[in-house]
Amino acid sequence: VAVAPARAAWPVVDGSQYEGSRIPSPIPTVKRVDPERVGSDDLLRINFGPNHPSTHGVLRLIVDLDGESVEGIEAVIGYLHTGFEKSMESKTWWKCVTYSPRMDYVGFQNNELTFVLAAEKLLGLEVPTKATWMRMLLSELSRIHSHLIFLGTSALELGAVSMFWYCFREREMILDLFEMVTGQRMHTRYFQIGGLAEDIPQGFYPECRKFIDWFPHALNDYLTLLDRNAIWLERTKGVGVLSASDAIALGQSGPNLRASGVDWDLRRDQPYLAYEQVDFRVPVYTHGDVYDRYRVRMDEMAESNRIVDQCLRRLERMEGQPWIVDDRKVVLPPREELHTSMESLIHHFKIVTEGFRVPEGEIYVATESPRGEQGCYLVSEGGPKPWRVHFRAPSFVALQATPTCLHETLVADLIAIVGSLDAVMGDTDR
């Protein structure tokens, strides 16, 4: 039964955060000090990073300080550039799947999903229902996993050390689930073009159910620890404000956009997988500050937990159904057939050595990753390797908003702001 998710008034754009725009001009991503003050003895230019512990990877911020107040900022990225896009051009489509989760190494399942969905769209493959629901389940677990890392590290940076251990305790439970299904804790490569790499193992459902029964209690613990913590509130409320119109102009997406009062979630507004068949709420907050970005993610974890629950209910009734399409030109034949069937052996050999051909065309597929709009742009020449692969990385775009979020900011707030934008440098630099 299709359930239409509840929807608030259509994109709520609340301009109440501040008047006008705070995007620096003429360069939107560089905040310069007042020209009259250039060369002043009061100003100190320092490097934040690239190896600063609270820059979430290797991000370098060139910061102009007047005492503790941040007067100018410029971000320098690229320290984690790995050339994934270039490498993928020289690999067969089948091998490319392995690259995609390594970009955003915190929300890996979602990257994998975006690439696989895009390739399937070019191939025109109909994925089995069971695979679709399992993909949804794992993507939502991955979202919880990603938000837990956000919460743990952001709280740690602001002094709430114990949060880190609690968050990583639940994160460990999710990684154990991933390991149970895929054999890997991270970078699972479980989504295959055409479906899933393997059937869902015996005993996964009860284990997963244990987790989703436990997780609301854990979430409640986090709220108790943080949400009435005077220091946490003081450090996050009203800090790093981003207005709705500035967020849209800066291309923000995901939790950062929803914290600024824009009711937009691709899972609901441009549904993929089977999101139109599950019931979930899209949390929207309107202050656009660090606190609201944290609240959006807290609520999202609860909603993801509900989606996982609904996926489980469906999947439990799909025992024995296929988990990958039966298209021997694209999908590897079952291993046991290789010993008895010449045909299967040939197909296996062809797919592994030469790869399968993907029809000519170009495509842009966007999904809602934990960080926002994760896009995958593919161009195929019609051969066994992609001609061009490009990922629209939500972290890359989120970091652009840093200078706009700075307004009468102190150095300590800078840490809170960069943490709240939740950029993963692997995703940013690719």
Partner: protein
């Protein structure tokens, strides 16, 4: 939505459920401004350039059969099943626009450019294009005209060449502090 009124409109095509609108290179900024203000595409999701150098050069593979018959020196694993459609110029720059309404709408604007031909910058329309364009300048060497801060973003400032170009070899980058030095 009708795209034919866009400034610099050349043609519009549908494929895989996506609309691609080709725009005259010189007028892409005006077209984007029009799309934002008149057509309701509030958000620029992505800017991506593609290098089509050598597109289709592998030809059709032998086992399918070509006009000249089967070429034994050209193994079938290398070729394509069908010749892809030709491209007007070497580079394409695609702009993925998003209209946040119900139902959500997306459109791809596309301009074509030869090596070194400048593409007008859309930073003045969407500030988010700042890094998006800088990345494509850095990795693909597309000069964006009117960009306020067009310098390398991902690679080092003194890097030579543009790594995502098709004539840039994989593994061919100079290595610092190698044994020979």
């Amino acid at each position: 939505v009708s795209y034919s009124d866009l400034p610099g409109f050349v043609e519009s095509s549908e494929a895989y459920g996506e609309t691609t609108v080709t725009i005259e290179r010189e007028q892409i900024r005006d077209a984007c401004l029009y799309a934002r203000d008149e057509l309701g595409f509030q958000m620029l999701a992505d800017v991506v350039a593609t290098d089509y150098l050598g597109w289709g050069a592998k030809g059709v593979s032998g086992y399918i059969g070509t006009e000249s018959g089967r070429d034994l020196n050209f193994p079938m694993t290398q070729g394509l099943q069908a010749m892809p459609a030709g491209k007007p110029k070497r580079f394409s720059v695609s702009y993925h626009l998003l209209a946040m309404r119900s139902p959500a709408e997306r459109v791809r604007f596309k301009v074509w450019a030869e090596d070194g031909e400048p593409v007008p910058s859309v930073v003045s329309v969407w500030p988010t294009a700042d890094w998006l364009e800088r990345e494509q300048f850095d990795l693909m060497g597309i000069p964006f005209d009117g960009h306020p801060n067009l310098k390398r973003l991902i690679m080092d400032d003194d890097w030579e060449g543009h790594p995502l170009r098709k004539d840039y070899p994989i593994g061919g980058e100079p290595v610092r502090f190698s044994e020979a030095e």
